[in-house]
């Protein structure tokens, strides 16, 4: 069965015909060309497909696209505004928070959700918020430092 789904993606209203069994990550990557959300484990274990749905982190590889009707979806492609990187993107770039970069979009969106809730997280709170995101380059120290730097910039 197919249905028309209307949702806002990175500030743009999108209407798409989707099959009931279509996943959000497939809608984003294959239909809309937003390949920032990555397919890592394809089973909700690695966090590489994390996007924000109504401001909250969501694993797009286990989310049915049809269930996102009427929601506001944010992906890594929508984080830079007016040609300027977001605070988190800049902090990851300047503090070597990205190595191969595969986990980075998921890491940044999980961290973005944390900073909107809590602009002054300590290291433990960052570790908990990013607990569902795997980095196989094992760059966690730099990732946590990047989030701390971005948090300080957001507060300033």
């Amino acid at each position: 069965m197919k249905r028309i789904v209307s949702l806002e993606i990175n500030g743009r209203v999108v209407e798409e015909v989707v099959a009931d069994n279509m996943l959000l990550v497939d809608l984003l990557r294959d239909r809309l060309g937003l390949t920032g959300a990555k397919k890592g484990c394809d089973g909700g274990e690695c966090g590489a497909c994390t996007v924000l749905v109504d401001g909250r982190p969501r694993l797009s590889c286990i989310t049915l696209a049809a269930s996102c009707e009427g929601t506001r979806v944010e992906t890594i492609e929508g984080q830079a505004k007016g040609g300027h990187l977001s605070a988190l993107q800049r902090a990851f770039h300047e503090n070597l928070g990205a190595q191969c970069g595969f986990c980075t979009p998921g890491m940044i969106l999980a961290a973005e959700s944390l900073l909107r809730d809590n602009p002054t997280p300590d290291e433990d709170q960052i570790r908990v918020a990013l607990g569902g995101n795997l980095c196989r380059c094992t760059g966690y120290v730099k990732i946590i430092e990047s989030v701390l730097v971005a948090a300080a910039e957001v507060r300033a």
């Binding site: 009931d20 996943l23 089973g43 909700g44 966090g47 969501r58 049915l64 999980a110 908990v128």
Partner: protein
């Protein structure tokens, strides 16, 4: 594009009655809430269905409300909401168990009802289709032999929910709706020791809510798992402690070691004059005797038995 998900239709009932009718009318239909367990299962070919019944639009499945001095928690309440719910602070083991279910992103959509109905897990079952096919499948799905216990006649897959034991030590009941109306069961009676049919749900039935009695005991929950940030329990233990003039009485429930969460037989009262080391030593032995972990996971059964017993004694000592 991924072809991994089978074709299915999604029905979106707006009431419990509609959901029950839809589930009953489509015998292969599966209820869908957060999807964190179900979608992965569908993807791996561990379940087959032509119909999902999405429970997300049913208002009565939401809310945490006062109920006869205790609480009524809708089955559709997300774990992220439960984790932050002030009303649950009076039942400490519950938010503690909720906070260690999977990772934070799963908890944003995973629901209480979903965790209570979580499928059982086994190293011979939670594999890809070709892996299971090359092994002749297993008793839980499409096969005729349990590879964990080939001599036995039942599936040994382990119950892996964290929240059920925490609800059990607080005396919670489950409200179930089905074609024949509504019924209430103590959480303890909701489960059966059979990995292939571990809940009491009958065709067309769904979990509607959990009812908690008035708060009383202090409680705690702990688990062991391979990946500290996000994993199922290889074993988990909830402990509640009620103080009275006679002394302290402990209630314990274990998860991850059997095909159902197991309530441990009462270890008796710890009086003020009793030798507490002897008491907690006996409590540890009692848990060891109660659980029966099998070769369903990556850690040896004996290790899981010893570690969950040690955790039980540690939590009980802290609460005493």
């Amino acid at each position: 594009m991924s072809e991994a998900l089978p074709r299915f239709q999604v029905l979106t009932p707006s009431s419990v009655a509609e959901a029950v009718t839809a589930l009953y009318a489509h015998p292969d239909a599966l209820p869908h809430a957060g999807g964190t367990d179900l979608i992965v299962r569908l993807r791996k070919g561990l379940s087959e269905t032509g119909t999902l019944v999405d429970l997300g639009g049913i208002a009565v499945l939401q809310g945490i409300d006062p109920d006869a001095g205790g609480l009524r928690i809708g089955a559709g309440v997300t774990l992220a909401t439960l984790e932050r719910a002030e009303a649950l602070a009076a039942y400490p083991a519950i938010p503690k168990a909720v906070a260690v279910v999977a990772g934070p992103t799963h908890r944003e959509v995973a629901t209480l009802g979903g965790n209570l109905c979580l499928d059982t897990r086994c190293v011979y079952y939670n594999q890809s289709h070709w892996w299971r096919q090359s092994n002749g499948f297993c008793l839980k799905y499409k096969g005729d032999t349990c590879h964990v216990a080939p001599q036995g006649n039942r599936c040994r897959a382990a119950f892996s929910g964290d929240i059920a034991p925490a609800l059990m030590v607080h005396g919670a009941k489950i409200e179930i709706a089905g074609p024949e109306g509504t019924r209430h069961l103590p959480v303890t009676d909701f489960y059966h020791e059979d990995g292939a049919a571990h809940t009491d749900l009958r065709p067309g039935e769904i979990v509607v809510a959990v009812h908690l009695p008035p708060p009383g005991p202090q409680s705690d929950y702990a688990k062991i798992r391979v990946r500290g940030a996000i994993d199922y329990p290889l074993a988990g233990i909830a402990v509640a402690c009620t103080a009275s003039s006679e002394g302290k009485r402990f209630t314990l429930a274990v998860t991850g070691t059997n095909s159902m969460p197991v309530l441990v037989k009462s270890p008796g009262v710890l009086g003020a004059a009793d030798d507490s080391d002897a008491y907690f030593g006996a409590l540890e032995k009692l848990v060891q005797k109660t659980v029966s972990p099998q070769r369903t996971g990556t850690l040896a059964p004996h290790y899981r038995r010893l570690s969950v017993s040690a955790l039980a004694a540690r939590l009980a000592r802290r609460l005493a």
